[in-house]
């Protein structure tokens, strides 16, 4: 953290220098222009270690302006240590207002979740991505995966899904379910649960996915088709929380955390902390729910 106020003020607005911000913004524009395509970018040094959200910070700090209202969550929670530290950092470096309220925020940075509440045209969501390459699990060479993307050669990805189904009776990709963007590139939506995947498609907000360690970013622009890979007879499904009610709010129809109280008892709590707070206040923020095929 920054040691003194004097020292703090020697930094540029939003920490990163303007030329680098411009470079990252150019790369984001390119990624918007080619939905799902991974654009290499500079990934400058940050005062946190790579793999701790540097990619998300790069994207957020490059596009944040003095009027933006910033929200950051980690696994759905505004209160986790990582989120708190990064929020503090962004506020100090920008003097921007921060919020827990999903609806109020104009720029949301997240790790491993997309908020339950529907995001609008005036909002941008930045995902912290550990591994941006969906093909890495089937092809270890970068030069080969690039050719595979260029030629839309996704045979191995499909076979991996087939194998997963054959071995486990279901496609087991719990987080980071591979999706096809705009009918072309296969992309990882970052390790969000399957629950969030349908909410990427035709969404009004802009999604920026940024992997600082891997120096790649990709985007899903507003109102862009995002289709989870599925077979004709084995369809994509989201997690089911049938007859489960949030122990803290009484709410249902949201992604739940499973909490073990003891060895024999467990309870479920809505994962998205802001959404949970709103449900507790008796509100029902707008949501888009996916219906699993029968």
């Amino acid at each position: 953290m920054i040691a003194t106020r004097k020292f703090e003020h020697t930094y540029n607005f939003a920490f990163i220098d303007e030329r680098t911000k411009r470079e990252i913004r150019r790369k984001i524009l390119k990624a918007i222009a080619i939905p799902g395509y991974q654009v290499p970018y500079s990934s400058p040094e940050m005062p946190i270690a790579r793999g701790w959200g540097t990619g998300g910070l790069h994207a957020s700090l490059s596009i944040i302006g003095p009027d933006d209202v910033f929200k950051i969550i980690d696994q759905g929670s505004d209160a986790s240590v990582n989120a708190c530290n990064l929020r503090d950092f962004v506020r100090r470096m920008t003097s921007c207002r921060t919020t827990f309220d999903t609806a109020e925020a104009t720029l949301i940075q997240t790790r491993h979740r997309k908020p339950e509440e529907i995001l609008t045209e005036r909002q941008i969501i930045v995902f912290q991505v550990p591994q941006p390459e969906p093909l890495r699990s089937v092809e270890r060479y970068e030069f080969k995966t690039r050719i595979m993307h260029a030629e839309a050669d996704y045979a191995k990805m499909w076979v991996a899904l087939y194998e997963s189904y054959v071995k486990f009776g279901a496609i087991m990709n719990g987080a980071g379910y591979p999706v096809r963007v705009n009918g072309r590139y296969i992309m990882t939506p970052s390790p969000i649960p399957r629950w969030d995947v349908p909410n990427l498609s035709m969404a009004p907000c802009l999604h920026v996915f940024s992997a600082g360690r891997e120096k790649r970013l990709h985007c899903v622009p507003p109102f862009t088709r995002v289709e989870p890979l599925e077979f004709e007879d084995v369809k994509f499904r989201v997690e089911e929380f049938r007859e489960i009610v949030c122990a803290a709010s009484g709410g249902d129809r949201a992604f739940m955390d499973e909490i073990y109280e003891s060895e024999s008892t467990r309870k479920f709590v809505i994962n998205d902390s802001d959404f949970l707070d709103k449900v507790r206040l008796g509100q029902r923020p707008p949501q888009r729910l996916f219906q699993n095929p029968v």
């Binding site: 030629e151 839309a152 050669d153 191995k156 194998e163 077979f231």
Partner: protein, 284 residues
């Protein structure tokens, strides 16, 4: 007198197919080949792996390519299967764009599509043809998926049928080929190669690494499939016994060139070229 007749009806047409490694110059092809008993360009040391390859293959025909190691026979089918990029030449398939498009000029995407739907390849080494990270069924599924079949049930049905056809126990469909015997790996390769009923199959020394008795069974299988499916084949082998058993026609290669071609029995009983005579006289 039959030129016109024979100019139609072919499945595969290859003209002047050439592959040169290194830096070719204008005379590289001219100063290499059987006449010079070398495929190395004397000026630049470029290697002329194959050159001036011309032939037509007809539906249902089995063409053998025989020659010693380094004669260019494997390179030739690797070029046709797009495993390698040709330096020059033209290749036409009657089933593609009504034979109007030179396959070598296709985009990689279209090449892959042609390869997945119109061709099959069985390599000498099963590791070249199979992905050992996937199950036997997954390997077959790869071909089916790429031909646009995205129905797991139907994929498994087809894979089971193909494995049955090639005498691989269907119970082992979900096992990885690394747990299979050499002969069984070749059978899985064959299943994969014929998964989409391609009109054209390439076989590269498919029995070379196998025990004699296993070899015989694999050859029997290939013959049987050829008859049942009516598929055209190009069989590469250094083993004249394999060539005699499987093929109708044979091309003899040396130093990257075709030195002689003819009906297989004619090549074996009345070889014209000095090299072929030497080769045939060495047959046990």
């Amino acid at each position: 007198m039959n030129c016109q007749d024979s100019d139609t009806g072919w499945l595969l047409r290859v003209r002047n197919l050439t592959k040169i490694y290194g830096e070719p110059i204008a005379t590289s092809v001219q100063y290499t080949g059987p006449r010079f008993n070398s495929n190395i360009c004397p000026e630049t040391d470029a290697i002329v792996a194959c050159a001036e390859i011309n032939f037509d293959l007809y539906p249902g025909e089995v063409l053998g390519i025989v020659g010693e190691s380094g004669s260019g026979k494997s390179t030739l089918i690797q070029l046709l299967y797009f495993d390698q990029v040709a330096t020059a030449g033209e290749v036409y398939l009657s089933a593609l764009d009504e034979a109007q498009t030179n396959l070598l000029t296709l985009s990689n995407q279209r090449k892959r599509h042609a390869r997945n739907t119109l061709m099959g390849m069985v390599y000498q080494n099963p590791r070249d043809g199979l992905n050992f990270g996937f199950s036997a069924g997954g390997n077959i599924a790869e071909k089916l998926l790429m031909a646009g079949s995205f129905h797991v049930g139907r994929i498994r049905e087809r894979a089971a049928y193909l494995l049955g056809k090639t005498e691989v126990p269907v119970a082992r469909m979900d096992h990885t080929p690394s747990t299979f015997s050499g002969g069984m790996q070749q059978r899985v390769q064959i299943s994969k190669a014929i998964a989409n009923n391609p009109p054209l199959l390439f076989l590269d020394e498919v029995t070379s690494g196998l025990d004699v008795s296993v070899q015989a069974r694999v050859l029997d299988l290939i013959r049987q499939l050829q008859r049942e499916l009516g598929v055209s084949m190009i069989v590469v082998s250094h083993d004249l016994a394999v060539i005699r058993m499987l093929t109708d026609r044979t091309m003899v290669m040396k130093n990257g060139r075709i030195v002689e071609s003819g009906l297989t029995d004619q090549i074996l009983q009345d070889p014209q070229h000095a090299y072929t005579q030497l080769l045939v006289s060495s047959l046990l």
